[in-house]
Amino acid sequence: MIPDLGKYAVPVLASYGVSLVLLAGLVWASLHRSARVRRALDEIEGRRKTDG
């Protein structure tokens, strides 16, 4: 399935591997922080409503 990369297999695969890991990490970190901050804000706003 993988095309024949000849003697350049290591650099090509390493480039794709490192880049995809970095992009996936960036997407994960962005979504994870988004969910965490959203939960925390909901909690604080809920507390404000309860406390009046």
């Binding site: 003697k7 970095l22 960036l26 922080r33 901050v37 959203r38």
Partner: protein, 246 residues
């Protein structure tokens, strides 16, 4: 179209409401374009007559480098809007874009080094474009650190905006360094329009798709992160009010 209508999006509530509708579409199109561009480039393009299979690295390296520079330019525009009009959303958008730009710069540097080793016989050279990209990366780190180091949001926005103005010199240099100094290992523009330097369509089309994917991924991530920064800012304000009341 009334350009003044754009300022309505400086309202955090309006920004979040609008991006609620836009974000899913942008994220899905970005994922699709990236998948198509990278799969097309990796699996369905031939080897280059000179560079062999390493030409496949171009589908990551060039779009990442493009976004590394343009992320900083976007930060420059939003920082200027903050300085002139004091819209918090624009300062937060600049803050949100910095980690995305930093990762794009890192991808450009790493893939460039991996590509350079078999082509130039070295991982690194103090070539004008490589050096200005490394300095741009350090500016991203400094910019992010400055935001984290200052507790007051408005002061942080002011100081990081100034840092962004200074760093813009290196963002521009990393794009035009090859033209300014006619030396070094790095080639000129990959998508040159000069005769004899034109890239064949078999390589160019998947590259355009991949570039569009990177642009849309950047937009989607900046929207997600700006929304997060808006919420985090509101959270800090509410916590400060709670502390004052206690």
């Amino acid at each position: 179209m009334n350009i003044n209508a754009l300022w309505a999006y400086a309202n955090p509530k309006k920004f979040i409401e609008t991006t609620d509708r836009v974000l899913p579409a942008v994220a899905w199109i970005a994922a699709l374009m990236l998948a198509v561009g990278l799969v097309w480039g990796f699996f369905f393009t031939p080897d280059d007559f000179r560079q062999g299979a390493t030409v496949k690295i171009i589908y990551l390296h060039v779009p990442a480098a493009l976004m590394a520079i343009n992320a900083w330019l976007m930060m420059l525009v939003t920082s200027l809007i903050w300085i002139v009009r004091r819209h918090h959303v624009s300062a937060l958008a600049a803050r949100a874009a910095a980690p995305v730009g930093m990762v794009m710069t890192l991808i450009a540097l790493v893939t460039g080094a991996i590509w350079g080793q078999p082509m130039w016989g070295t991982w690194w050279a103090w070539d004008p474009r490589l050096t200005s990209f490394l300095i741009l990366f350090l500016f991203y780190l400094g910019y992010i650190a400055l935001w984290e180091a200052i507790e007051n949001d408005d002061t942080a926005a002011d100081l990081t905006a100034i840092l962004c103005l200074v760093g813009s010199v290196f963002a521009l240099l990393s794009r035009y360094a090859v033209n300014f100094w006619n030396q070094g290992l790095h080639q000129g523009a990959s998508l040159s329009i000069r005769p004899g330097e034109r890239m064949d369509m078999v390589f160019k089309l998947p590259l355009y798709v991949s570039m569009a994917g990177f642009v849309l991924l950047f937009v989607a991530l900046v929207l997600v992160r700006t929304r997060t920064e808006i919420r985090a800012r509101r959270m800090r304000a509410l916590l400060a009010r709670e502390r004052m009341r206690a």
